[in-house]
């Protein structure tokens, strides 16, 4: 099915099941510990041996020798795989660095060996006996130092490297009010709770891996390519994913090494990346340096905007596309954006929740707050004054929906914004300096081809099969809701099977496209199934209605169970997209409001209130969508206040590479969070008229925290995370 004209009324609009705050269908499994994650499939590989990964001790250079004698002789050891004995390996299309290093080393903790043994304890002990000698080479590990060598990246997901409209330089120079400020965001880690883990089983030439992956088809393709075997011989299964946030978009070392280990040991092998290895072994969100310039009239109309971003990655890597939102968010006739990519020898940078916009909005929305301050305008009014209903770089392209102003107005009312003292550092409660901050939320809505298969059986049960994944997003539930709505059955008559490459290829979970695009794929398959049902009953498909387990047309009614008959009915289809996303700019919008308390003595920041108002198309399940947003707000709070992969600049690695060193928010950091969804449908996005929300929630929230800290203290910090040491020197003396 092709979606190339705006959606009109369709079965989804009945909203009998869609749009309701349904509990997650897999909830009873997750809350009882009976949902099986990658490492836990004892049934499929009861005799699995255990792999333990050895990571490189240097960031760049060469292995001069690996001595396996002691490790081989250790109790229980079955096999040791290194680059020397693994056979020829290719590199996956989505991988920048090789997953099995040696003799060349590309980054710290790059896997260089896997030790397979009878038990986990034996594998772990033997891994320590692998003796490696290295020749260390110098590398570039400091983005700031490499800044001047940065080059424009190749066009990619984030669009072209540079854009320009009008005469930015002239307009900026002539503007009576100007801002020219530089912001930095650090390297960040996904730090999902479930480590990357896999069980690999070979049956002859056929390989099956039970793993934890967001994009099944990408995983199949890159595993086949890396091993040099046909895609048809690879099956990837990933029914539950213990968090991903972009860190499990791609084939990673656990999968490859489990496959290689299993081949070498001639039995199934399971591997979970050790937590202390993960942050350097896998991908991370790259650090950025961002220069933002604004020029405006005295009344606050923006006349010039420039946003430049520098980031680094391994050779042939990609940039953090931090300027993306600035191309679209505010009006202004003269504008330019530019991305610069430096070569760094740190671990591979790649997508993490809202790549581009998350760090981009952290910078842009502080700059907007600063500019409002210079203009003496309320930061909400300044934003509204510069709102646009068209793509500012291509004014002939309208936004499909853009209710940013309404998000701000709704949020301001709810949050009590009008009671705020506009002057910073004026509100105090005992030892606490109190501040409130606001920021826009903005994230583009992407649509991706997605397929599904739908079966109807003689009990009237609808079974959906798609290789889509549920990484905590609620996919099981919204797909069940979609199928129930489409086929006119209650939720308990729908079975959803996900995360298996034997199922039709979906859009996968990424870029906040998963919810809308995967359910659109299910919509397409259900439309086909409806046709098949109608056809079988000789009903007019256009006139048939599906409700209460019945199909009704022309005064006749038949139960779905009966229609399916003994053999059942099956339909498969994909949703593909025309050029509506070219003609219309599809984005999601929101407003973040945050109240912080800053300890007047220690400068510790504690968040007291968080509110997000979102306009993101139809909300398919308000309960699951709200969870996506609060989760993103939590990650954004971490980004604002504590998250930073600290680099050892001498040796090129992330030093704080575990969950004690890399602090993410805990319960005590996060207050009650409130989310409001504007009632909206977007007929340009899909037949469901939905858009993404899972990444919208993180975009801007860090800046709202930063702006609240400024409001509390009068101290403007432009370097994330805003830890107390950056505030301490500028706070008033303790009496």
């Amino acid at each position: 099915m092709k979606f190339d004209t705006p959606a009109t009324t369709n079965p989804i609009d009945q909203l009998k099941v869609i749009g309701r705050p349904t509990d997650r269908v897999e909830g009873p499994l997750k809350t009882t510990g009976t949902a099986r994650y990658a490492y836990e499939h004892h049934d499929v590989a009861p005799n699995a041996a255990y792999g333990y990964v050895v990571g490189s001790a240097i960031a760049k250079g060469r292995i001069t020798s690996i001595n396996l004698n002691e490790a081989k002789a250790a109790p229980g050891v079955l096999a040791i795989v290194t680059a020397e004995n693994a056979g020829k390996l290719d590199k996956g299309d989505f991988n920048t660095a090789k997953l099995l290093g040696g003799p060349g080393i590309d980054h710290y903790h790059q896997a260089i060996a896997v030790v397979v043994a009878q038990t986990f304890e034996q594998a772990r002990a033997a891994a320590q006996l692998v003796r490696v000698q290295y020749q260390r080479a110098g590398g570039a590990f400091d983005l700031n130092a490499a800044k001047n060598s940065a080059k424009p990246p190749k066009p990619g997901f984030g669009g072209p490297p540079n854009t320009a409209v009008g005469d930015f330089a002239g307009a900026f120079a002539a503007a009576p009010v100007q801002l020219d400020a530089t912001y930095t965001t650090p390297d960040q880690s996904h730090a999902m709770m479930e480590p990357h883990a896999s069980i690999a089983v070979w049956e002859g030439e056929k390989l099956t891996v039970w793993t934890s992956n967001q994009m099944i088809a990408w995983g199949v393709g890159d595993l086949a390519k890396t091993l040099g075997i046909p895609k048809e011989n690879v099956r990837v299964v990933s029914p539950y994913v213990g968090g991903g946030f972009g860190g499990k978009l791609f084939l990673r070392a656990d999968v490859l090494l489990a496959a290689l280990g299993a081949r070498a040991a001639k039995r199934p092998v399971k591997i979970a990346l050790q937590r202390p290895l993960m942050m350097n072994n896998t991908t991370h969100r790259p650090a950025t340096i961002q220069r933002i310039r604004f020029g405006a009239t005295k009344e606050g109309k923006i006349t010039a905007i420039a946003h430049e971003s520098w980031s680094g990655d391994l050779p042939d890597g990609s940039p953090e596309t931090a300027v993306s939102q600035t191309r679209l968010l505010y009006a202004g006739a003269n504008r330019m954006t530019a991305m610069h990519l430096a070569v760094l020898d740190l671990p591979e940078g790649n997508a993490m929740r809202a790549p581009g916009e998350a760090p981009g909005m952290m910078a842009l929305e502080i700059a907007v707050d600063e500019m409002a301050g210079k203009l003496g305008l309320d930061p909400i009014e300044f934003r509204i004054l510069n709102d646009t209903q068209v793509d500012p770089e291509k004014p002939e392209r309208p936004f499909s929906q853009r209710r940013l102003t309404e998000c701000f107005r709704t949020g301001a009312g709810r949050f009590g914004w009008s009671r705020r003292n506009p002057m910073p550092a004026k509100t105090r409660e005992g030892r606490w300096l109190i501040g409130t901050g606001v920021a826009a939320a903005f994230r583009n809505n992407l649509v991706m081809k997605s397929a599904a298969r739908v079966r109807l059986d003689n009990r009237g049960v609808v079974t959906v099969e798609t290789d889509m994944t549920d990484i905590g997003t609620g996919t099981y539930t919204i797909i069940a809701q979609t199928a129930a709505e489409m086929m006119g059955v209650p939720l308990d008559k729908v079975i959803v099977k996900l995360g298996d490459s034997r199922f039709p290829v979906s859009c996968g979970s990424g870029g906040q496209w998963g919810g809308n695009s995967s359910s659109a794929g299910v919509y397409a398959a259900c439309m086909k199934l409806r046709e098949a049902v109608a056809k079988k009953l000789s009903y007019d498909p256009a006139a048939a209605t599906f409700a209460d387990g019945q199909v009704i047309a022309g005064g006749r009614s038949t139960s779905l169970a009966q229609a399916a008959g003994e053999s059942g009915l099956v339909a498969e289809d994909a949703m593909e997209y025309g050029d509506l996303d070219k003609k219309f700019q599809q984005s999601t919008f929101g407003a973040h409001f945050v109240e912080v308390a800053v300890d007047a003595a220690t400068a510790e920041v504690r968040i007291r209130r968080m509110l997000a108002v979102c306009a993101a198309g139809r909300i398919l399940n308000p309960k699951a969508a709200r969870s996506q947003v609060i989760g993103a707000m939590t990650m954004g709070a971490g980004a604002a206040l504590m998250e930073e992969l600290a680099i050892d600049q001498r040796h090129g690695f992330f030093v704080n590479h575990d969950l004690a060193g890399y602090e993410v928010p805990v319960h005590a950091d996060i207050p009650h969070q409130e989310v409001i969804f504007l009632d909206e449908t977007d007929p340009m996005s899909s037949p469901l008229k939905a858009k993404g929300v899972g990444e919208l929630g993180i975009c801007g929230v860090g800046a709202a925290v930063a702006n609240a800290i400024y409001h509390a203290t009068g101290v403007r910090v432009r370097d994330y995370p805003i830890t107390l040491d950056k505030l301490l020197d500028q706070l008033p003396e303790v009496s």
Binding site: R136, G138, M192, M193, G243, G472, T634, P665, H667, H672
Partner: protein
């Protein structure tokens, strides 16, 4: 830009032991059978018995086996999760003798005679514990990986408040602590949820406490 320490093969931590010739001779992966003859193997096995979710279990384990790995890999009770294996995340939380602990940081052999409750012992999909039901209702989870640990922790945490155990945010150390939102959040802080379901988890616990107390 400067490129420091271009070649320092001399760093002692990398210069470990002996021969460099071995690797070159490795053309195919080493495959060995089981290693029953390893002379030291038997002395590292220890028998242990304890009670899990009301059922007695007797195991003979490598002394190095953590309680978490005994549960997950030997008893196939995979509800308790391994998030970090170093006591930094709380996903492995189980209840031993009424107290919540990190099962990754205790050895199975140290649990001789103990009564252990895991998430599987609290309820089943068909018969949920009130805390499990509240997590479902309040959407107190997303990916689900930290969830069993959160639930075990929450159940035991309510008992700790009842027992009058103070926390970092208890204002008056000599008064009985109450289940306030700050108390709950402080006490649950040993359970990290990267999906960020905290606000909903707090709702689920508050609701459960209201019904249980």
């Amino acid at each position: 830009m400067p490129r420091p320490d271009s070649s320092d093969l001399t760093r002692r931590e990398f210069l470990v032991i002996g021969s460099t010739a071995v690797a070159a001779t490795m053309v195919s992966p080493l495959v060995k059978g089981q290693n029953p003859a390893a002379p030291d193997a038997p002395s590292f096995l220890t028998k242990v018995s304890f009670n899990v979710n009301g059922k007695p279990c007797a195991l003979e384990l490598d002394t190095r086996t953590t309680l978490l790995d005994a549960l997950r890999e030997h008893l196939h009770l995979t509800g308790s999760k391994k998030g970090c294996d170093h006591g930094q995340c709380g996903a492995c939380t189980v209840i031993v003798g009424g107290r919540r602990i990190n099962s990754c940081l205790t050895l199975a052999v140290m649990q001789q005679g103990n009564h252990i409750t895991t998430i599987e012992g609290l309820g089943t999909p068909e018969k949920l514990h009130p805390m499990q039901a509240a997590f479902v209702k309040c959407d107190g989870y997303q990916c689900g990986y930290c969830t069993p640990g959160q639930i075990c922790s929450a159940v035991a945490m309510l008992d700790e408040i009842k027992a009058g155990i103070p926390s970092h945010v208890t204002a008056d150390l000599t008064a009985r602590p109450q289940l306030t939102n700050p108390e709950l959040r402080e006490r649950m802080s040993g359970n990290i949820c990267r999906c960020g379901a905290y606000s909903n988890i707090a709702d689920a616990i508050t609701e459960t406490a209201g019904r249980i107390v």
